[in-house]
């Protein structure tokens, strides 16, 4: 596939065990080298196009993740890295875990794994690039604007989450 941009990525640990985080870092180092796609790991949300979020998000991190997401310019893509970021993983039942990145901000690509493997992560980033291109294309036509985290929270209110469904199943 053709890659049209050199996107920059931002990584934040939303209460993970660190395993996924070191794999995110490892994927930027010589063996895996996501930098060959022109990708740069940045620390500034306003420079970033792709947000790599690991961990199941704890209550103290919630607002930090929201702020980072809201500060990123459009178009932007969010990657949930690792099984905890996808649905809470092994920590799902912990009292301080909300259960996945998509409980707080919209997620575009889910990359499972405990810990996520760099190869899977790179694959996810490439998928994210495609989504990023599509979003940029739509934006040019004035058809797209990403949700803010507040709008997303509003949207979630009316939706059933996976754990709601589980509870319903248990009751039935």
């Amino acid at each position: 596939m053709r890659i049209s941009k050199s996107p920059w990525l931002l990584h934040y640990d939303g209460s993970s065990c660190n395993g996924c985080d070191i794999e995110v870092l490892a994927s930027t180092t010589p063996r895996f080298d996501v930098e060959r796609f022109g990708i740069v790991n940045t620390g500034n949300p306003k420079h970033a196009d792709i947000f790599l979020c690991t961990g199941g998000i704890n209550s103290q991190n919630e607002d930090v993740v929201r702020q980072i997401y809201d500060q990123m310019p459009d178009p932007k893509v969010v990657l949930a890295c690792g099984i905890c970021a996808c649905d809470g993983g092994i920590f799902k039942d912990c009292y301080n875990i909300l259960g996945g990145t998509d409980t707080v901000i919209p997620v575009d690509v889910y990359v499972p794994g405990c810990a996520v493997r760099p190869e899977a992560l790179i694959d996810g980033v490439i998928k994210a690039l495609k989504i990023l291109d599509e979003k940029a294309e739509k934006m040019k036509r004035g058809e797209y604007k990403s949700l803010t985290s507040a709008e997303y929270a509003e949207k979630l209110k009316g939706m059933k989450t996976a754990s709601d469904k589980e509870k319903e199943d248990e009751n039935a």
């Binding site: 660190n18 794999e23 920590f91 912990c94 009292y95 875990i97």
Partner: protein, 360 residues
């Protein structure tokens, strides 16, 4: 003109570490006069999972306290339960555990070297060390199937055996790793630009290090000869190795200790493979644990305490882990006092903080 006090918040999202930590730096111009750490951004509350997962499943939870020291956490928990239940693992299990533990220590220390290089702005050195680290991860993957989280531990032994020829194959790889680190050592320990960033930065005296309860390389770099591996758990009692210390007490000393510990660990791995006993890897267990025990082991970052309180049921009452970074934070706050603001990232990295360990 008197300097004005101001507070600079550091973190939680910042480029030095992959993990979130927050420190309020009270500064007078460029000098830090006080540092107040606050934690909790990775607090998951996994110690309470004991009420939802049985004592066997908790091994996997313990391994996920932290992705870097994962093997050690699994080991610490398993050892505590085995002690309570009176289980003696087989010799082969003990040796394989020791080998994996030391490989984990090597990958953790090399990871730290990379983060340190990144913190003092030596990007190519960061890349070089992490390239070397991949060799260790390849060995761990060949032995267990996982790169950072292995899930090979089990109460009573191991879940799978590591074939002898696979382990024999590690020996030439280990030589390459040691050779690679020796080449990097010149940059870390004798490059004048690097020395300028490390020498005398973040000094802590031997007395302070003991009084503040420092652990691991942080403690040993202040000249204290203390290494919990000397307690002789697993197969450490059969191994020949020495405790690396330094009298410098600063960031340079910590760098020196960790680099030389990599060589010691490589030697322990070699000894394990050469002396590897031939017999089973698993002792069947009966019943549930009943009693309490605390195990102290040496993680890459220092001593870690595992406490288990069980009352003869499938679910244990309490699991508590005191990790080395938790013990090192008060000393970190102390070393930050009086440093330059520009040195804060180096000092934070120098204790090798593992936040997910700390907060569990």
């Amino acid at each position: 003109m008197a300097a004005k006090r101001s507070v600079i918040p550091f973190g939680p999202q910042h480029p030095v570490l992959p993990e979130p930590i927050h420190i309020d730096l009270v500064t007078e111009d460029e000098k830090v006069v006080e540092a107040i750490p606050s934690i909790g951004f990775v607090h998951r509350g996994l110690e309470q999972l004991v009420t939802k997962k049985d004592f066997g499943e908790m091994v996997y939870v313990a391994e996920r306290i932290c992705g870097i020291c994962s093997f050690g956490h699994g080991y610490g928990y398993v050892k505590t339960i085995e002690h309570i239940m009176g289980i003696e693992p087989t010799d082969r299990a003990r040796y394989i555990r020791t080998m994996l533990f030391e490989l984990s220590r090597m990958h953790s220390h090399i990871l730290w070297l990379g983060l340190m290089a990144d913190a003092f702005g030596f990007e190519s050195l960061f890349m070089e060390t992490w390239k070397i680290r991949e060799k260790i991860l390849d060995m761990l993957e060949a032995a267990t199937g996982g790169r950072v989280i292995f899930s090979i531990m089990r109460i009573g032994g191991l879940r799978k055996d590591v074939p002898d020829d696979v382990m024999k194959g590690f020996l030439p790889e280990l030589d390459k790793v040691v050779e690679g680190i020796k080449a990097c050592e010149a940059a870390f320990l004798s490059d004048p630009a690097v020395l300028g960033r490390l020498k005398g930065v973040g000094y802590i005296s031997k007395e302070d290090a003991i009084a503040l309860g420092c652990e691991g390389p942080f403690l040993r770099a202040s000249g204290v000869e203390h290494d919990n591996r000397m307690r002789g758990y697993a197969a450490y009692g059969d191994m020949d190795f020495k405790i690396i210390t330094s009298d410098e007490g600063d960031s340079y000393g910590r760098c020196y200790v960790r680099i030389h510990e990599i060589y010691e660990s490589a030697s322990i791995v070699r000894q394990c493979i050469e002396k590897m006993p031939q017999e089973g890897i698993y002792v069947p267990i009966k019943g549930f644990p009943n009693g309490e025990h605390m195990t102290v082991i040496e993680q890459p970052r220092g001593g870690a305490c595992y406490y288990v309180h069980a009352s003869g049921k499938k679910f244990i009452e309490r699991m508590r882990v005191r990790t080395p970074t938790f013990a090192n934070i008060p000393a970190l706050a102390k070393t930050l006092q009086g440093c330059d603001v520009a040195d804060v990232p180096i000092l934070v990295v120098t204790i090798d903080p593992c936040i997910s360990c700390t907060e569990r």
